[in-house]
Subunit: 300 residues, 2 copies
């Protein structure tokens, strides 16, 4: 088998903007897949989604310091650029944009992009400043790449809602696409954080998808009560001794408003669980999220 070529690596905003102008002048459609590296099958599915929607696919690899509310989490974030580059190339990424921190946050940088309401609840409540960091860096990536379409994982449902609102409010003129969550063989949503789970916690983590499955079955069986659904979900989440539930909520998929007492339309079940190590303590905490869109009114 022929070795796949490595994608071209661009390090500066100016060079990427020139490349974007060049592509646009040729009538080529550009898709951007923003990542923080540590690529797994979830990211590669975003690349495939991007390929289906554009002529050229660009991936950014940038571990964004401003979205880590916990500096330990930032330090622990896995980095393997050569492996990421090879995976990107094998999967048809044309350009990898890998700027240094100073390129996206120049000396004296003090500008923030913030989506007020949507950023405040759920993960925003547990991780103060997280979404402000996300929207700020995604604005910079959007301005650097000027893509026609940008693909994000639907696993990070709140991030997707926040970025969609930002795109609408500021008028980037970019199609924001959410791609379905990719799962491990046992159903656990793929995440760069999974490898940091203690083996026991990794097994217990199946509880999240079990809870989503149970709620989906219940809704298909006619259960519409928000409180009864949440109660069933919480019972399953409590079966994970190493996991502490951060939230388990039913929300409107666009506005993230709390679901009504009885579900009447597509509703997002969103879960966040913090896993600890069996020996206890604050070392090695890993927070996982997962979600599913429940539809109490399927096509008849």
């Amino acid at each position: 088998m022929e070795p796949m070529p490595f994608p071209r690596v661009i390090r500066t905003v100016g060079e990427l903007q020139d490349e974007s102008d060049h592509c646009r002048a040729q009538g080529l459609r550009v898709a951007l897949v923003p990542t923080m590296g540590a690529l797994h099958e979830g990211h590669l599915s975003l690349v495939r989604e991007a390929r289906a929607r554009a002529d050229v696919v660009w991936m950014s690899i940038f571990v964004n310091p401003t979205q880590f509310n916990d500096p330990n989490d930032f330090e622990a974030y896995p980095v393997n650029f050569d492996r990421d580059l090879a995976l990107a190339g094998e999967n048809g990424v044309d350009v990898v944009f890998a700027p240094g921190v100073e390129e996206l946050y120049p000396q004296g940088a003090q500008t923030w992009v913030e989506v007020e309401g949507l950023s405040e609840s759920l993960c925003g409540a547990s991780r103060p400043g997280h979404f402000r960091g996300v929207t700020t860096v995604v604005s910079k990536l959007f301005l650097a790449a000027r893509p026609h379409v940008a693909v994000f994982g639907a696993k990070d449902f709140q991030q997707l809602a926040v970025i969609r609102a930002m795109e609408r409010d500021l008028g980037f003129g970019i199609e924001v696409v959410g791609a379905p969550t990719v799962r491990e063989a046992d159903g656990v949503a793929m995440s760069s954080r999974n490898v940091r789970l203690h083996p026991e916690a990794r097994i217990q983590a199946r509880g999240l998808v079990k809870a989503l499955d149970a709620a989906e079955r219940a809704v298909l069986g006619g259960e519409l009560s928000r409180d009864r659904l949440i109660s069933e979900v919480e019972t399953i989440l409590r079966e994970m001794p190493l996991g502490e539930t951060d939230y388990a909520e039913l929300r409107d998929p666009i506005s993230l408003a709390l679901a009504p007492e009885f579900l009447s339309g597509p509703t997002l079940l969103a879960l966040a669980v913090q896993f600890r190590r069996p020996e206890g303590g604050d070392e090695g905490l890993v927070r996982l999220i997962d979600n599913r869109l429940l539809d109490p009114t399927p096509t008849r």
Copy 2:
């Protein structure tokens, strides 16, 4: 004399983005002059500056509600679109972008662009939220027009500093140009607010430029003491019975940091004065600003 053609009016972000792509594909350089209408000679000098730097000149006319901390000021802001359009046309503006409020602030809009440090002092202290409104709307205008260059008046020195920082931090790839302040025959800086001054206040308003002139003369005469310069300026400003000084400060022109005790390089003298009507009361308050770059080390 031939009547000048009116400029083309564009009302939607999408149409302006298409026009921008079209110009860029043809290799044309686009300049944007953002205004809130109520055009005067100051704005027209920005248009001339823009013409000198680009192939096509676009002017936006949008009275941005989010930058008025005082709703009375927003209501009182003069609007005369037909006159503005004629003036724009006579001065060679090719496209006027005049969106409705809902076009730049869609239903549910909740995204803000904020420059933290630079927005807080001086006018930012007197007008909470003002610069957040400015940077948010200018981001939207930049994304809609995607110009190569944007021209702002140097009279609004803090706005210029804030927008330059925003452009640098987010990486718009737009050249931000500050054009010199244009003055009335008596030296008062042109402003859409001048017409709202009581005739007596309008005469007294000459005090601002008198104070700037005096400081400039003092610096040329070798005075480098920050405190003595400010003291001289304040004495002149006190000669305006209808004016109350909001601030009179010496600042670094880029960082807006307070000047050192003895001036050692180009330093901005920035003034803001609130004028009342002779009959007193809170009705008809008009706030004027003016500034001058003082250079204690001119070319020898």
